[in-house]
């Protein structure tokens, strides 16, 4: 396509007088990484051609996100190499997938890991292996550079996301009371990462009510406090505080040390970890392999993907658990697994827009917005001079029902979402349209597990968390929420269970 004559005259004319005409950038982009078409084949019980070949392999891992890759990492580390990992998408990584353009690598979803506490032993083990933790010290370059976060409120930026400016006496008192409460919960030792270690039935009551209700019970009605609590639920669970269990809301705060320095992050987000894992276990990974049938048999499990039927002794099911009833013969439908629809976008910026004062940070959040703001991919760059960048924009469609939001996500065109995103950014960067040259959007109908009241302590969750039988469940959604440490823990535990069973079941 040749540029129009008028455009040509405009640009050469402008070049002659040494001026550039300040117009909005032409903006390109599309939806990327769509995977619902394949998923819907399973949902709609499409028929798949019969397998052409049969392969015997002791362990099949289904799903190549953090849980599946961590299971593979564990098996490999234990010296077990007779397994295969089947991933539906063309790129492994799941919620930790990443992309790269001429400016920077960037995340498609999960983009950080909080500095792991002492109980997250497998995360620490992995990070020691990757050189992130060295001689008991976290590598400086992997800790999020300062300044880390900022919040746009009352027409200006403040450093940090917890509202701190223009608080009333009442706001301050309630924040303090909340902090004291969190301190108490933390001291019980029941809110841990991974959650399984501390989980106690005595807290089941907290899981029955919503986080909003709990705050109401505590007479915490400060608007800014409520905004912050709601933001935290949207950020980690993709749900509002009305839709989140009080247990999960408290877990968000009480499971972490208050004085942690971090988080750990990379330009491509947790895609950095995926790449390191793939360096180790990539040869066991088969991408573009959608499993369409899992059938438990007398002495093993049959797993069908593409033209192959794998005959395995054990299956580690690391894909999102809600898919399981569509794949596994004999598994009853699941009721307590709910997921939040999300949208992420990567924006290519040919120059850095101005804002209302404030130094650029890693994470930027706007108070008066339904979105979660954006993260700057070049923030972790060691370079001192950065004139172009990539922003990852996060939007959990939290308000309203997930199924309706999923329809919205599917039915609206790219330009609708692009406009919505730019409109949101315009509140803090008025000249954003002059800076962005590309907007790529990833739609995820079932992005993150949603810890709705009652889910975490439900019989469904509890049962599937037990690594029993020949199909071992490993997705982080078993914990009730999708975070890196839960995924890694469940992957490792499933691998351990498979090895244990295999060697204890073996004929002597």
């Amino acid at each position: 396509m040749s540029p129009s004559r008028r455009k040509f005259l405009q640009s050469t004319g402008a070049a002659l007088v040494g001026l550039s005409l300040k117009t909005d950038q032409p903006m390109r982009g599309s939806f990327v990484n769509d995977s619902f078409q394949q998923g819907h084949l399973l949902r709609d019980r499409a028929s798949f051609p019969p397998p052409k070949q049969k392969l015997k392999i002791p362990i099949v891992i289904v799903g190549g996100g953090i849980a599946g890759l961590s299971a593979a990492w564990r098996l490999h580390k234990k010296g077990f190499k007779d397994f295969i990992l089947l991933e539906m998408n063309d790129q492994a990584g799941g919620n930790s997938r990443w992309g790269e353009n001429e400016i920077s690598a960037y995340p498609w979803a999960a983009h950080y890991v909080p500095v792991p506490g002492p109980k997250a032993v497998y995360v620490r083990e992995l990070f020691e292996e990757l050189g992130v933790l060295k001689d008991g010290k976290w590598q400086e370059r992997y800790l999020c550079f300062a300044p880390q976060e900022r919040l746009f409120m009352f027409g200006r930026w403040q450093e940090g996301i917890e509202p701190a400016i223009a608080l009333s006496q009442k706001d301050r008192e309630q924040f303090q009371r909340f902090e004291d409460k969190v301190h108490e919960f933390r001291a019980t030792g029941k809110f841990t990462v991974p959650m399984e270690i501390g989980l106690s039935d005595s807290d089941a009551d907290l899981d029955r009510i919503s986080f909003s209700d709990w705050l109401r019970q505590q007479s915490m009605d400060s608007k800014v406090l409520r905004w912050y609590m709601n933001y935290c639920c949207r950020d980690d669970y993709g749900a509002t505080s009305d839709q989140t269990s009080a247990w999960a809301g408290i877990q968000y705060f009480a499971s972490r040390e208050p004085e942690e320095k971090g988080p750990l992050t990379w330009p491509e987000g947790n895609g950095w970890i995926v790449q390191r894992l793939l360096e180790r276990v990539g040869r066991f990974v088969r991408t573009g392999q959608m499993v369409h049938r899992i059938a438990p048999q007398k002495n093993g499990v049959s797993v069908s993907a593409g033209d192959t039927e794998y005959l395995a002794e054990f299956v580690i099911f690391a894909a999102p658990t809600f898919i399981a009833p569509y794949l596994i013969e004999g598994l009853a439908p699941l009721r307590d697994f709910e997921y939040s629809p999300w949208l992420t976008a990567n924006l290519t910026l040919d120059r850095i827009p101005s804002s209302y004062g404030g130094d650029p940070t890693w994470d930027s959040v706007f108070m008066e917005s339904p979105t979660l703001g954006y993260v700057d991919a070049t923030h972790q760059s060691l370079r001192t001079h950065i004139d172009r960048t990539v922003w990852t924009f996060y939007w959990a469609l939290a308000e309203g029902s997930p199924s309706e939001n999923r329809q919205l996500l599917l039915n609206r065109e790219w330009s609708y979402w692009k406009e919505a995103i730019l409109h949101d950014l315009e509140r803090v960067h008025p000249e954003i349209r002059k800076c962005v040259s590309r907007v790529d959007i990833m739609r995820m109908g079932h992005a993150m597990a949603r810890p709705k009241p009652g889910a975490i302590f439900s019989a469904e969750h509890r049962n599937l968390r037990k690594t029993a039988g020949r199909v071992l469940f490993a997705n982080s959604d078993l914990s009730g929420f999708s975070i890196f440490e839960e995924a890694q823990y469940r992957g490792v535990m499933a691998a351990e269970a498979a090895l244990h069973k295999m060697y204890s079941d073996a004929p002597r």
Partner: protein, 498 residues
């Protein structure tokens, strides 16, 4: 009447050339790169003259009347051009647009002058005499103007008043022509009236030129600007006041040629002279080549690798005569390898080892520069030190930014190095601090290269003494994930300005 007519030609030729020279000089002053500015301005001007000449054939009535008008317009536009350009540079973004517009308008008008004049007087002489005389005086006028401009006009009148003066002359020509061509002219009194008004306006401009320049320059810099350039990375400005050349990067003073030797001798010699056989030296930052000039005083040094972000900067200091005189053409030495790269990623990926590393970055005024003062950075740098190697770090002022200075020292220490802080007095900076660091112990050298103007071996030990108002402070180290230094630095300088 003949000679008077040809003096008119001489004057208008001079005026035209002066306007062109003024545009070229102003653009070189304000934008730098005089070759580019003069070439494009002369090109545009000559081309516009061609347009003027071409247009002249479409004028077939009232030649004298139109000639007077052209002179009037030239006088007013050309006379005020310099003032307009100064003000446009100081207060608007459209300097270049206005400059080329003025050059083109003036060029077209000047291109019209001579053809019209030749046709006006064609009846009075033989054609070949007209051509010969007009062109002779035209070129004579150009010679006069080109000699007057640098020798008298710029030094004694300045650019604004020179333009005004020649504008007055130009309007004078208009007025004068109304008498010269009175018999071919209708409405001569009206033209005389207008000429008189224009003369008065330009006269006022000439008298008040100082105010215009002050208004514009107050908005620019104190001293004469000999170069100003926006590179991809920074805004480079060189100023000169008598023999003092100063370099500003993003309006922060980098050196003054009067006392930079103090800074650079102090930066290099206490450390480098203590390395027994320095063969390979690395300089991070220092794109002015002044540190390299000091390093070249050690014949044992075989290679000097200089990593500076901005290729424009190292190119300027390799080619600009005034600047290579300062750094004694240090970049032209065969020992020097210039690498234009961002320092942190470079040092992170490079594997060479060096006997002496000079870290001479701008002060940590923002979070980007702050990355270059972190434990992560010094650890990466320390991996490049040879067994006997030392490094020296420019560490801001222990007097004006005492917390920052000791924070840098603490950061280097936390990166696992022994530190030896010292300070010197540089008049244009005030008290300035450095830190020598290495994996082994350091003691000041007993001998230094010949011919130093500031640092001497006897006085070295004293540089490592800090009086109470600069004494060490308890401050945290600086890390990528806290950047305490940028906050301290900001606070230090704020405290001073209050």
């Amino acid at each position: 009447m003949g000679i008077l007519l040809f003096i008119t030609v001489l004057l208008i030729a001079a005026c035209g050339l002066i306007y062109e020279l003024i545009a070229g000089t102003l653009a070189s002053y304000l934008l730098g790169d005089s070759v580019l500015q003069f070439s494009t301005i002369i090109g545009c001007y000559l081309f516009a003259m061609g347009i003027g000449s071409a247009i002249s054939r479409y004028i077939d009535r009232g030649l004298a009347y139109r000639f007077v008008w052209i002179e009037l317009l030239l006088g007013v536009i050309g006379g005020s051009s310099s003032a307009l350009l100064f003000l446009a540079f100081a207060y608007t973004q459209g300097f270049q647009l206005l400059m080329y517009a003025l050059v083109v308008i003036i060029g077209i008008l000047v291109g019209l002058e001579i053809p019209l004049l030749m046709r006006i007087i064609r009846g009075r002489y033989h054609f070949r005499d007209v051509v010969a005389h007009v062109l002779t005086f035209d070129y004579l006028g150009a010679l006069g103007a080109s000699l007057l401009f640098p020798i008298l006009l710029v030094p004694y009148l300045g650019l604004v008043r020179s333009a005004m003066l020649f504008g007055i002359l130009n309007v004078g020509v208009a007025l004068w022509s109304t008498f010269l061509f009175a018999n071919q002219l209708a409405r001569a009194p009206v033209l005389r009236g207008i000429s008189f008004v224009a003369l008065c306006a330009l006269g006022v401009g000439f008298a008040e030129a100082k105010k215009i320049t002050i208004a514009a320059e107050d908005n620019i810099y104190a001293d004469e600007i000999i170069l100003a350039r926006d590179t991809r990375y920074q805004h480079i400005v060189l100023t000169r006041f008598k023999d003092d050349i100063r370099l500003f990067l993003n309006s922060h003073l980098q050196f003054s040629s009067r006392d930079e030797y103090r800074y650079h001798e102090a930066l290099i010699h206490p450390g480098l002279s203590a390395v027994s056989v320095p063969r390979h030296v690395l300089v991070l930052g220092g794109g002015d080549g002044l540190a390299v000039r000091e390093i070249l005083k050690y014949p044992q040094v075989e290679t000097i690798t200089l990593v500076d972000l901005d290729p424009e900067m190292t190119r300027l200091f390799s080619t600009h005569p005034m600047l290579t005189a300062l750094n004694q053409k240090s970049f032209l030495s065969h020992k020097v390898h210039v690498i234009n790269a961002d320092a942190f990623p470079w040092i992170d990926s490079n594997t060479d080892s060096f006997d002496f590393i000079v870290i001479d970055f701008p002060d940590p005024t923002n979070y980007s520069l702050g990355k270059l003062y972190t434990t992560a950075f010094y650890k990466a740098a320390a991996r490049h030190l040879s067994v006997q190697g030392l490094m020296v770090v420019q560490s801001t002022s222990p007097m004006f930014a005492r917390d920052s200075y000791w924070c840098i020292a603490k950061t280097i220490e936390d990166a696992g190095l022994r530190t030896y802080p010292y300070h010197v007095y540089v008049p244009s900076f005030g008290e300035w601090g450095f830190v020598i660091a290495g994996t082994h112990s350091y003691s000041p050298p007993t001998a230094l290269p010949q011919g130093l103007r500031f640092v001497d071996a006897k006085g070295l030990a004293a540089l490592f003494q800090f009086p109470p108002d600069m004494a060490p402070m308890e401050v945290p180290a600086n890390h990528l994930n806290d950047q305490v230094l940028v906050r301290l630095y900001d606070k230090d300088w704020k405290d001073i300005s209050h």
